[in-house]
Amino acid sequence: MQVIDYKCPNCGSSMVFDSETGMLSCHSCGRKDDIEQFPDPLRENVFSEDEVVEYHCNSCGAIIMTESETSATVCSFCGAAVVLGDRLTGTLAPAKVIPFSISKEKAMDAFQKWCRNGRLTPNGFMTADRIKGITGLYVPFWLFELHNKIEVHGLGTKVRTYRRGDYQYTETQHFDVYRKIDLNYVQVPIDAAEKMNDELMDKLEPFPYDQLKSFKTAYLAGYIAEKYSYNDEELYPRAKEKVSAYINSSIQSAMSGYSTMSYTNKQIDTRLQHADYVLLPVWVVHYDYNKSEHTFAMNGQTGKVVGKPPISMAKVSAWFASITGASFISLKLIALMMGGGLW
């Protein structure tokens, strides 16, 4: 039942992680502490998975209401940032974390700017004044390192055509092609949270890995964090599937230069080197529009926004009409220049 919070040594307020400076900071007195030098209060605790545990806020004593995946949250009574230590230890201990570099205000601005740029979104949506909630969420990911040994055999042809006299000759050269390729993929991210939409999370990539830091619980202070719902073994098939598309396009480029190529034998030996459990920063925006809720996600480091915005039929028609009209007039002008009449 380990609950970690960060009391300011100066004034006793709750300290949170500040994305601007990358330090643990106190909103009341302005004290800032370097997280790298901070001792991590995580202890090695052993809890069984289905043990019913109740967490009490260290500040006010209220029961902390959480979902079973939550590992960091804010006390709903007093607002103190709390980290649930036992959900971050043992096999649940993240190896690394990328802290937020975009603050809540900046995320809000960036999201509003993104809404304004939507060419097909309705005008009412573009003002982005109905943001229902914006949550800074550390989403659990596994970073896979996969080594692939590939051997491919194929039959390639090079085709040349030329004219001699009244005949058209087609000359086809046949080749037996062989390639042995090593393809090593590192830090391939797979989202391990059950509640996050996989497609949405895939679009959020890439995350800047140079910002990866050794995990300290203080980075989570003031944000929501989740623990993984699937372990690395369960996600290995997804990782394999993700790189197989990369592998196939690499094979294609390695065997380029032929007019046609048919593979007679393709052997791909994929080995899992290791998988790291990391927490990556995502701003989740809930937006009410036209009585339905839309969910968007923003990369907490790069500011890339993904999610399906509503589409205005009026704008779609206007774009369609103007593009069609412009193309039609251009075609008419081309016809006119070629010697045709207007009709």
């Binding site: 993904v306 593009i323 039609f328």
Partner: protein, 261 residues
């Protein structure tokens, strides 16, 4: 809002341009452009076609004429056309001026298409042959009214194109242009809608460890060469028409195409 309205109006104008405009007849005086000596048309059909020929002739400044004959003297249809042009001296701009003539020899079931001056310039032998091909089936069926209507409309249409270009080029087809424009609009807007939710911006290089990845071995073994040959088809345009142009006794040169039905 305002911009959108303008765009919508522009779109409708564009659609409107795609369809040939209906013409309203303004001029009161009608020239006789159809000389139906063989009596192939009834009164109603004759009036309708004559009005139509007048309208289109005015637009192209070229008289579009139809001459039908029972050919009692058994004269060649081409000679008949030339004599008609010399005697009647038709022409939109002046006597013996811009004219297109379709002459029907009902005795020998022959017909002849001729273009004079502007008619010759814009309706060369190639284009007259195209008209020839279009009307021959209807003439053979005995549907003279339809054949004459097609002749008037096609002669009018072809004269809208600069001499030398193929008037049947699909690029000149309004419906084709409209279809292509709709296709372009649909593809672009569809892509925009598809991309509105964000795109995947990682590729195979993003996670590849370039220092340890690469091609270790490569073999490209030549096996054999196969060669096929194909005879190049010569473009022999075999036309049913033909005949070509000539010069009338009065010294007016013309283009021409003849056919039978």
């Amino acid at each position: 809002m305002k911009k959108r309205n303008i765009l919508a109006i522009l779109f409708f104008i564009a659609v409107y341009l795609a369809v040939p405009m209906e013409m309203s007849l303004a001029s009161a005086e009608l020239k006789t452009l159809i000389y139906d000596e063989a009596g192939l048309l009834n009164k109603e059909e004759y009036n309708e076609l004559n009005v139509m020929a007048n309208e289109y002739s005015a637009k192209r400044e070229t008289d579009i004429i139809i001459l039908t004959s029972t050919n009692d003297d058994n004269i060649d249809v081409m000679k008949m056309t030339e004599d008609f042009y010399d005697e009647k001296a038709p022409g939109y701009d002046k006597p013996n001026g811009n004219t297109v003539i379709l002459t029907m020899d009902m005795r020998n079931r022959d017909f002849y298409l001729a273009g004079f001056y502007k008619g010759k310039e814009y309706l060369d032998e190639g284009r007259l042959n195209k008209i020839n091909d279009k009307i021959t089936p209807d003439l053979a069926n005995g549907d003279y009214r339809l054949a004459f209507q097609k002749y008037i409309q096609t002669a009018y249409k072809y004269m809208g194109f600069r001499p030398g270009v193929n008037p049947d080029n699909i690029l000149f087809n309004g419906w084709f242009q409209l279809a292509v424009s709709l296709g372009i609009g649909g593809i672009i807007v569809g892509t925009m809608a598809y991309r509105s939710g964000g795109r995947v911006t990682v590729n195979r290089q993003t996670y590849e460890d370039a220092s340890t990845s690469g091609i270790l071995e490569r073999q490209d073994t030549y096996m054999r060469t196969t060669t096929t040959k194909r005879k190049i088809e010569k473009n022999n345009s075999g036309g049913s028409g033909g005949g070509g142009g000539g010069t009338t006794g009065g010294g007016h040169s013309h283009s021409g195409s003849r056919g039978s039905f």
